[in-house]
């Protein structure tokens, strides 16, 4: 009587075992979620960039009226439009207005000096100021620029809006405060909160580009004493040392080595 013995392969069975499959699907799911998260972030970033370019286009045609009447409306709209700007976006706006033959300050309808002074503008008034009709306009723009956040809008805390004051509303061009710590907007807390949120999203702290979270103040840690890199015999390191190691000059005849170790290897 012939039994039909089922043939069993000695090779590894194809197909993952159930627990492996489960682990794999969980992993896939996690990767998928992560990929989706990143895709959304990139999309949000693109959307913001388009909005910023659109805002630049709107401000390109400012002021909407040639004289004082509509200025207040323009001014308030200007503040709203530049909310998402980084300082570099404001530079792009100036560049764009100058190409269009307008003073860089969006509430001014004069010609920039790069047009009125012609080719000599750059050495007469400087690269930044030649984009404006006057030093007053250049100052106004610089005043606004200092108030913008260096953090790209898509990485900012959506709950916090930046308050921007125009120099005209204040009356005079307020002096730019040099001491940033006196600005009472809780910069530190915001930076910390953003940082924590980023960690929660699964990003490493290092994935932040430093200039976005760094403050322009440098705090020197106490007790930093400069030490020479090479501690060998406590000797000072000469300018010829390479990473603290002083290459020895080997002469063919009469090679003298003052170092106790390795005096045998010179030949």
């Amino acid at each position: 009587m012939a039994f039909k013995v089922p043939v069993k392969s000695i090779l590894k069975q194809p197909g993952p075992r159930p627990d492996e499959a489960e682990a794999k699907s969980a992993r896939d799911q996690k990767n998928y979620t992560l990929a989706l998260q990143h895709a959304r972030k990139i999309q949000a970033q693109k959307d913001w960039q388009i909005r910023i370019v659109n805002a630049i286009q709107v401000l390109l045609d400012y002021p909407t009226t040639s004289h004082q009447t509509g200025d207040e409306v323009d001014a308030s709209k200007f503040i709203v439009l530049i909310q998402p700007f980084q300082p570099s976006d404001l530079d792009a706006l100036i560049e764009e207005r100058v190409v269009d033959g307008k003073c860089g300050w969006p509430l001014c309808s004069n010609e920039p000096r790069s047009v009125s002074l012609g080719k000599d503008a750059e050495w007469k008034v400087g690269k930044f100021k030649m984009g404006f009709c006057s030093n007053a306009c250049a100052k106004k723009m610089a005043f606004v620029k200092t108030q913008l956040s260096e953090i790209p809008v898509w990485e900012r805390d959506p709950g916090i809006s930046i308050s921007i004051t125009l120099p005209d509303v204040v009356g005079v061009v307020a002096p730019v405060t040099k001491d940033d710590s006196s600005v009472p907007n809780g910069n530190y807390d915001v930076a910390n909160a953003i940082h924590e949120l980023a960690l929660e999203r699964g990003e490493k702290a290092t994935s932040f580009r430093p200039n976005q979270v760094m403050l322009d103040q440098i705090v020197e840690k106490a007790g930093v004493v400069h030490k020479p890199l090479s501690g060998v015999h406590g000797a000072d390191v000469s300018s010829t040392a390479i990473e603290g190691y002083e290459p020895r000059v080997k002469t063919k005849v009469g090679f003298v080595d003052e170092d106790e170790e390795g005096s045998e290897d010179g030949d």
């Binding site: 388009i50 370019v53 630049i56 286009q57 390109l60 792009a92 706006l93 560049e95 764009e96 190409v99």
Partner: protein, 227 residues
Amino acid sequence: MSEGTSQEQSRLWRILRTTKQMCYDRGYELTEEECNISLADFKLQYVDESGAPQRTRMAFTARPTPEMLKKYTPLPRPGNPEPSADIGIIHVEFASEPSIGIKHLKAFAQLLHEKNYHTGMYVTQAAPTSSALKIIPSILPTVMEIFREEDLLVNISRHELVPKHTLLSPEDKKRLLERYRLKETQLPRIRMDDPMARYLGLKRGQVVKIIRKSETAGRYASYRWVV
């Protein structure tokens, strides 16, 4: 005529010639004579009475040749058995304004849209502003390419050290990958902003064949995937 104007004339003559040769090399319908216009003919056609070359007159339009259409036709798929070619008429303009901002590129994009051109090429005297360049991806699928005049003074593809680059059709690409049992990602790469990739207007995902002359091996071909 001053020396400056005659210099400007020959400068723009070179630029126009390179631009037309570039379109010819991509596969657009242009005649050999157009691509090799003489300086005398250029002056007759594009220079006004004062001796100044007229950039607006230099604009031209060209259709893709049947071979080019074939190279740009994707392989048929179950859902799309007869795909149409992803290429069409190209329109080339030479900007008269020394600096180019959003408004100029928007106007050019508008023209491309109205006339239903597939590709627009804008040759500018200086680089457009950074914000202006940002609108280029927003008008896709219409393609807008920007070239600086100074980059077209000489035709880089004619330089003896630049090997011959040719675009593979989707079919040739498939055959290549099958023959060597490769995935496209395993090919060496060429960036889209590589000068020769820009010259040929290559798009992401295409494969270009590069034929070099070698003193020891005669000619040899290599392939690069556009990223």
